[in-house]
Protein backbone atom coordinates (compact mmCIF):
# COMPACT_ATOMS: atom_id res chain seq x y z
CA UNK A 1 0.00 0.00 0.00
CA UNK A 2 2.02 2.92 -1.31
CA UNK A 3 -0.58 5.36 -0.02
CA UNK A 4 -0.09 4.54 3.66
CA UNK A 5 2.67 7.15 3.86
CA UNK A 6 0.15 9.83 2.91
CA UNK A 7 -2.18 8.62 5.66
CA UNK A 8 0.67 9.11 8.12
CA UNK A 9 1.41 12.59 6.75
CA UNK A 10 -2.30 13.36 7.16
CA UNK A 11 -2.24 12.18 10.79
CA UNK A 12 0.67 14.53 11.41
CA UNK A 13 -1.21 17.41 9.74
CA UNK A 14 -4.38 16.65 11.71
CA UNK A 15 -2.49 16.71 15.01
CA UNK A 16 -0.87 20.06 14.14
CA UNK A 17 -4.22 21.56 13.07
CA UNK A 18 -5.77 20.66 16.42
CA UNK A 19 -2.82 21.52 18.66
CA UNK A 20 -2.32 24.91 16.98
CA UNK A 21 -6.06 25.75 17.24
CA UNK A 22 -6.14 26.55 13.51
CA UNK A 23 -9.45 24.68 13.40
CA UNK A 24 -11.03 27.05 15.91
CA UNK A 25 -13.81 29.38 14.73
CA UNK A 26 -12.63 31.74 17.48
CA UNK A 27 -9.11 31.90 16.03
CA UNK A 28 -10.47 32.66 12.55
CA UNK A 29 -12.58 35.50 13.96
CA UNK A 30 -9.50 36.81 15.77
CA UNK A 31 -7.59 36.69 12.48
CA UNK A 32 -10.20 38.55 10.43
CA UNK A 33 -10.42 41.15 13.21
CA UNK A 34 -6.60 41.59 13.21
CA UNK A 35 -6.49 41.13 16.99
CA UNK A 36 -3.64 38.66 17.43
CA UNK A 37 -0.60 37.40 15.58
CA UNK A 38 -1.52 33.72 16.05
CA UNK A 39 -3.01 32.87 12.62
CA UNK A 40 -0.78 35.31 10.72
CA UNK A 41 2.28 33.84 12.43
CA UNK A 42 1.22 30.30 11.49
CA UNK A 43 0.37 31.02 7.86
CA UNK A 44 3.37 33.37 7.49
CA UNK A 45 5.91 30.92 8.90
CA UNK A 46 4.35 28.07 6.92
CA UNK A 47 4.93 30.08 3.72
CA UNK A 48 8.50 31.00 4.73
CA UNK A 49 9.27 27.35 5.58
CA UNK A 50 7.73 26.18 2.31
CA UNK A 51 9.58 28.82 0.28
CA UNK A 52 12.98 28.01 1.81
CA UNK A 53 12.35 24.29 1.25
CA UNK A 54 11.39 24.83 -2.39
CA UNK A 55 14.43 27.03 -2.93
CA UNK A 56 16.68 24.24 -1.62
CA UNK A 57 14.81 21.55 -3.59
CA UNK A 58 15.35 23.52 -6.82
CA UNK A 59 18.93 24.47 -5.96
CA UNK A 60 20.13 20.91 -5.30
CA UNK A 61 17.69 19.45 -7.89
CA UNK A 62 16.40 17.08 -5.27
CA UNK A 63 14.62 13.93 -6.44
CA UNK A 64 11.62 12.28 -4.82
CA UNK A 65 12.02 8.98 -2.96
CA UNK A 66 11.14 7.19 -6.20
CA UNK A 67 13.94 9.02 -8.00
CA UNK A 68 11.59 11.30 -9.94
CA UNK A 69 12.47 14.89 -10.74
CA UNK A 70 10.40 17.11 -8.45
CA UNK A 71 8.01 19.26 -10.47
CA UNK A 72 5.43 21.86 -9.51
CA UNK A 73 2.83 22.98 -12.01
CA UNK A 74 2.57 26.76 -12.39
CA UNK A 75 -0.89 28.18 -11.66
CA UNK A 76 -2.89 30.21 -14.19
CA UNK A 77 -4.51 33.60 -13.79
CA UNK A 78 -8.27 33.44 -14.42
CA UNK A 79 -11.46 35.12 -13.13
CA UNK A 80 -12.14 32.21 -10.77
CA UNK A 81 -9.29 33.33 -8.54
CA UNK A 82 -11.29 36.45 -7.75
CA UNK A 83 -14.88 35.19 -7.86
CA UNK A 84 -14.14 31.79 -6.33
CA UNK A 85 -11.65 33.35 -3.95
CA UNK A 86 -14.21 35.82 -2.64
CA UNK A 87 -16.81 33.05 -2.30
CA UNK A 88 -14.43 30.85 -0.34
CA UNK A 89 -13.51 33.82 1.89
CA UNK A 90 -17.17 34.51 2.66
CA UNK A 91 -17.71 30.88 3.60
CA UNK A 92 -14.45 30.62 5.52
CA UNK A 93 -15.48 33.35 8.00
CA UNK A 94 -18.95 31.83 8.52
CA UNK A 95 -17.85 28.23 9.05
CA UNK A 96 -14.55 29.25 10.66
CA UNK A 97 -12.99 26.40 8.72
CA UNK A 98 -11.14 26.00 5.45
CA UNK A 99 -11.06 22.48 3.93
CA UNK A 100 -8.32 20.96 6.14
CA UNK A 101 -10.00 22.09 9.36
CA UNK A 102 -13.39 20.78 8.17
CA UNK A 103 -11.91 17.26 8.17
CA UNK A 104 -10.07 17.92 11.43
CA UNK A 105 -13.18 19.16 13.25
CA UNK A 106 -15.02 15.99 12.25
CA UNK A 107 -12.16 13.84 13.55
CA UNK A 108 -11.98 15.95 16.71
CA UNK A 109 -15.58 15.15 17.53
CA UNK A 110 -17.48 18.26 16.35
CA UNK A 111 -19.75 15.91 14.44
CA UNK A 112 -22.04 18.57 12.97
CA UNK A 113 -19.18 19.51 10.63
CA UNK A 114 -20.15 16.39 8.67
CA UNK A 115 -22.93 18.64 7.37
CA UNK A 116 -20.42 21.36 6.50
CA UNK A 117 -18.39 18.74 4.60
CA UNK A 118 -21.47 17.49 2.72
CA UNK A 119 -22.38 21.10 1.86
CA UNK A 120 -18.86 21.72 0.59
CA UNK A 121 -19.11 18.58 -1.57
CA UNK A 122 -22.45 19.87 -2.87
CA UNK A 123 -20.73 23.15 -3.71
CA UNK A 124 -18.01 21.38 -5.67
CA UNK A 125 -20.55 19.23 -7.46
CA UNK A 126 -22.65 22.25 -8.48
CA UNK A 127 -19.44 23.92 -9.68
CA UNK A 128 -18.81 20.86 -11.85
CA UNK A 129 -22.38 21.07 -13.12
CA UNK A 130 -22.29 24.75 -14.17
CA UNK A 131 -18.57 25.12 -14.91
CA UNK A 132 -19.06 25.57 -18.66
CA UNK A 133 -21.15 28.70 -18.13
CA UNK A 134 -18.69 30.35 -15.74
CA UNK A 135 -15.89 32.65 -16.91
CA UNK A 136 -12.47 30.96 -16.81
Amino acid sequence: MKNIKFLIVGIYFGIVLVKSEVISWFRIQEMFRFQDIHMYGIIGLAIVTGAISLFIIKKIQMKSVDGEKIVMKPKKIHPGLVIGGLMFGLGWAFTGACPGPIYALIGGGTSVFIVVLLSALAGVWVYGLIKKWLPH
Partner: protein, 181 residues
Protein backbone atom coordinates in the same frame (compact mmCIF):
# COMPACT_ATOMS: atom_id res chain seq x y z
CA UNK B 1 -0.82 18.89 26.69
CA UNK B 2 -1.09 22.65 26.12
CA UNK B 3 -1.79 24.14 22.69
CA UNK B 4 1.24 24.75 20.52
CA UNK B 5 2.39 28.32 19.83
CA UNK B 6 2.24 29.77 16.31
CA UNK B 7 6.02 29.76 15.87
CA UNK B 8 6.03 25.98 16.32
CA UNK B 9 2.88 25.22 14.31
CA UNK B 10 3.76 27.44 11.32
CA UNK B 11 7.01 25.66 10.37
CA UNK B 12 5.42 22.25 11.06
CA UNK B 13 2.70 23.03 8.51
CA UNK B 14 5.17 24.55 6.03
CA UNK B 15 7.22 21.34 6.10
CA UNK B 16 4.28 19.53 4.50
CA UNK B 17 5.21 21.22 1.19
CA UNK B 18 8.66 19.56 0.79
CA UNK B 19 7.53 16.39 2.59
CA UNK B 20 4.78 15.60 0.07
CA UNK B 21 7.02 16.49 -2.86
CA UNK B 22 9.73 14.22 -1.54
CA UNK B 23 7.39 11.35 -0.69
CA UNK B 24 5.56 11.28 -4.01
CA UNK B 25 5.95 14.46 -6.04
CA UNK B 26 2.58 15.62 -4.69
CA UNK B 27 1.53 19.23 -4.21
CA UNK B 28 0.27 20.03 -0.71
CA UNK B 29 -3.44 20.84 -1.00
CA UNK B 30 -6.63 19.73 0.66
CA UNK B 31 -9.58 21.11 -1.31
CA UNK B 32 -9.01 18.89 -4.34
CA UNK B 33 -10.07 15.95 -2.17
CA UNK B 34 -13.63 17.31 -2.44
CA UNK B 35 -13.44 16.98 -6.22
CA UNK B 36 -12.20 13.39 -5.99
CA UNK B 37 -15.00 12.46 -3.58
CA UNK B 38 -17.51 14.01 -6.02
CA UNK B 39 -15.91 12.13 -8.91
CA UNK B 40 -16.26 8.87 -6.97
CA UNK B 41 -19.91 9.44 -6.09
CA UNK B 42 -21.51 11.67 -8.75
CA UNK B 43 -24.93 10.27 -9.70
CA UNK B 44 -24.78 11.69 -13.25
CA UNK B 45 -21.91 11.85 -15.68
CA UNK B 46 -20.28 15.29 -15.73
CA UNK B 47 -17.21 16.23 -17.71
CA UNK B 48 -15.54 17.88 -14.68
CA UNK B 49 -15.68 14.60 -12.76
CA UNK B 50 -14.94 12.33 -15.70
CA UNK B 51 -11.47 11.09 -14.77
CA UNK B 52 -10.11 8.19 -12.80
CA UNK B 53 -10.34 9.44 -9.23
CA UNK B 54 -8.45 6.34 -8.08
CA UNK B 55 -5.30 7.90 -9.57
CA UNK B 56 -5.58 10.50 -6.83
CA UNK B 57 -6.14 8.16 -3.91
CA UNK B 58 -3.11 9.61 -2.14
CA UNK B 59 -5.11 12.81 -1.53
CA UNK B 60 -7.98 10.87 0.04
CA UNK B 61 -5.50 9.01 2.26
CA UNK B 62 -4.11 12.40 3.31
CA UNK B 63 -7.51 13.74 4.39
CA UNK B 64 -8.43 10.45 6.07
CA UNK B 65 -5.21 10.92 8.02
CA UNK B 66 -6.28 14.44 9.00
CA UNK B 67 -9.51 13.04 10.47
CA UNK B 68 -7.55 10.39 12.35
CA UNK B 69 -4.83 12.77 13.54
CA UNK B 70 -7.42 15.24 14.81
CA UNK B 71 -9.13 12.39 16.67
CA UNK B 72 -5.85 11.44 18.35
CA UNK B 73 -4.95 15.03 19.24
CA UNK B 74 -8.42 15.86 20.56
CA UNK B 75 -8.74 12.75 22.69
CA UNK B 76 -5.21 12.01 23.90
CA UNK B 77 -3.21 15.24 23.58
CA UNK B 78 -5.72 17.77 24.85
CA UNK B 79 -5.83 19.47 28.24
CA UNK B 80 -9.37 20.76 27.60
CA UNK B 81 -8.39 24.41 27.94
CA UNK B 82 -10.42 27.15 26.26
CA UNK B 83 -8.96 28.69 23.12
CA UNK B 84 -6.90 31.61 24.40
CA UNK B 85 -8.10 34.28 21.97
CA UNK B 86 -7.44 37.95 22.73
CA UNK B 87 -9.73 39.85 25.10
CA UNK B 88 -10.79 42.17 22.28
CA UNK B 89 -11.96 39.20 20.22
CA UNK B 90 -13.88 37.82 23.19
CA UNK B 91 -15.75 41.09 23.68
CA UNK B 92 -16.42 41.49 19.94
CA UNK B 93 -17.79 37.96 19.74
CA UNK B 94 -19.87 38.45 22.91
CA UNK B 95 -21.32 41.57 21.29
CA UNK B 96 -22.62 39.28 18.52
CA UNK B 97 -24.62 37.40 21.14
CA UNK B 98 -22.37 34.36 21.38
CA UNK B 99 -22.14 33.04 24.93
CA UNK B 100 -20.25 29.74 24.67
CA UNK B 101 -16.47 29.93 24.64
CA UNK B 102 -15.84 26.28 25.51
CA UNK B 103 -14.20 24.04 22.94
CA UNK B 104 -12.93 24.96 19.49
CA UNK B 105 -16.14 26.31 17.99
CA UNK B 106 -19.05 28.17 19.63
CA UNK B 107 -21.78 25.65 20.40
CA UNK B 108 -24.30 28.52 20.04
CA UNK B 109 -23.74 28.36 16.29
CA UNK B 110 -22.55 24.83 15.55
CA UNK B 111 -24.84 22.12 16.87
CA UNK B 112 -27.25 19.58 15.42
CA UNK B 113 -30.34 21.20 16.99
CA UNK B 114 -29.88 24.53 15.20
CA UNK B 115 -29.02 22.93 11.87
CA UNK B 116 -32.35 23.76 10.28
CA UNK B 117 -32.76 27.22 11.78
CA UNK B 118 -31.91 30.27 9.66
CA UNK B 119 -28.65 30.68 11.58
CA UNK B 120 -27.68 27.04 11.24
CA UNK B 121 -28.43 27.02 7.52
CA UNK B 122 -26.28 30.10 6.94
CA UNK B 123 -23.32 29.15 9.14
CA UNK B 124 -23.12 25.46 8.28
CA UNK B 125 -24.95 24.68 5.03
CA UNK B 126 -24.51 27.87 2.98
CA UNK B 127 -21.08 28.49 4.53
CA UNK B 128 -19.94 24.99 3.61
CA UNK B 129 -21.37 25.28 0.09
CA UNK B 130 -19.39 28.50 -0.48
CA UNK B 131 -16.20 26.89 0.83
CA UNK B 132 -16.60 24.00 -1.62
CA UNK B 133 -17.73 25.98 -4.67
CA UNK B 134 -15.28 28.82 -4.02
CA UNK B 135 -12.18 26.72 -3.50
CA UNK B 136 -12.82 24.69 -6.62
CA UNK B 137 -13.54 27.74 -8.78
CA UNK B 138 -10.42 29.44 -7.37
CA UNK B 139 -8.42 26.23 -7.87
CA UNK B 140 -7.25 25.86 -4.29
CA UNK B 141 -7.69 26.80 -0.66
CA UNK B 142 -5.49 27.97 2.19
CA UNK B 143 -3.14 25.02 1.74
CA UNK B 144 -2.99 24.88 -2.07
CA UNK B 145 -2.91 28.62 -2.79
CA UNK B 146 -1.91 30.47 0.38
CA UNK B 147 0.79 28.06 1.55
CA UNK B 148 1.94 25.96 -1.44
CA UNK B 149 1.29 28.61 -4.11
CA UNK B 150 2.80 31.52 -2.20
CA UNK B 151 5.81 29.37 -1.20
CA UNK B 152 6.31 28.81 -4.91
CA UNK B 153 5.95 32.57 -5.61
CA UNK B 154 2.84 32.13 -7.77
CA UNK B 155 1.07 35.40 -8.63
CA UNK B 156 -2.30 33.63 -9.13
CA UNK B 157 -2.05 32.35 -5.55
CA UNK B 158 -1.42 35.85 -4.26
CA UNK B 159 -4.54 37.09 -6.08
CA UNK B 160 -6.55 34.18 -4.65
CA UNK B 161 -5.24 34.73 -1.12
CA UNK B 162 -6.09 38.45 -1.20
CA UNK B 163 -9.61 37.56 -2.35
CA UNK B 164 -9.97 34.90 0.39
CA UNK B 165 -9.25 37.67 2.88
CA UNK B 166 -11.53 40.25 1.29
CA UNK B 167 -14.36 37.70 1.39
CA UNK B 168 -13.59 36.87 5.02
CA UNK B 169 -13.58 40.54 5.99
CA UNK B 170 -16.92 41.14 4.27
CA UNK B 171 -18.44 38.26 6.24
CA UNK B 172 -16.81 39.27 9.52
CA UNK B 173 -17.69 42.96 9.45
CA UNK B 174 -20.97 43.00 7.51
CA UNK B 175 -22.68 39.66 6.97
CA UNK B 176 -22.12 37.87 10.28
CA UNK B 177 -23.23 40.89 12.39
CA UNK B 178 -26.23 41.24 10.07
CA UNK B 179 -27.22 37.60 10.55
CA UNK B 180 -26.66 37.50 14.30
CA UNK B 181 -28.30 40.80 15.27
Amino acid sequence: MEPWPWYVAGPLIGLLVPLLLWLGNKPFGVSRSFKHICAATTPIKLKFFDYNWKDHLWNLFLVAGVVLGAFIASNYMNDGSQVAISNETVSDIKALGITSFEGLVPSDLFNWESLLTAKGILFMIVGGFFVGFGTRYAGGCTSGHSITGLSNLQLPSLIATICFFIGGLISTYFLIPLVLN
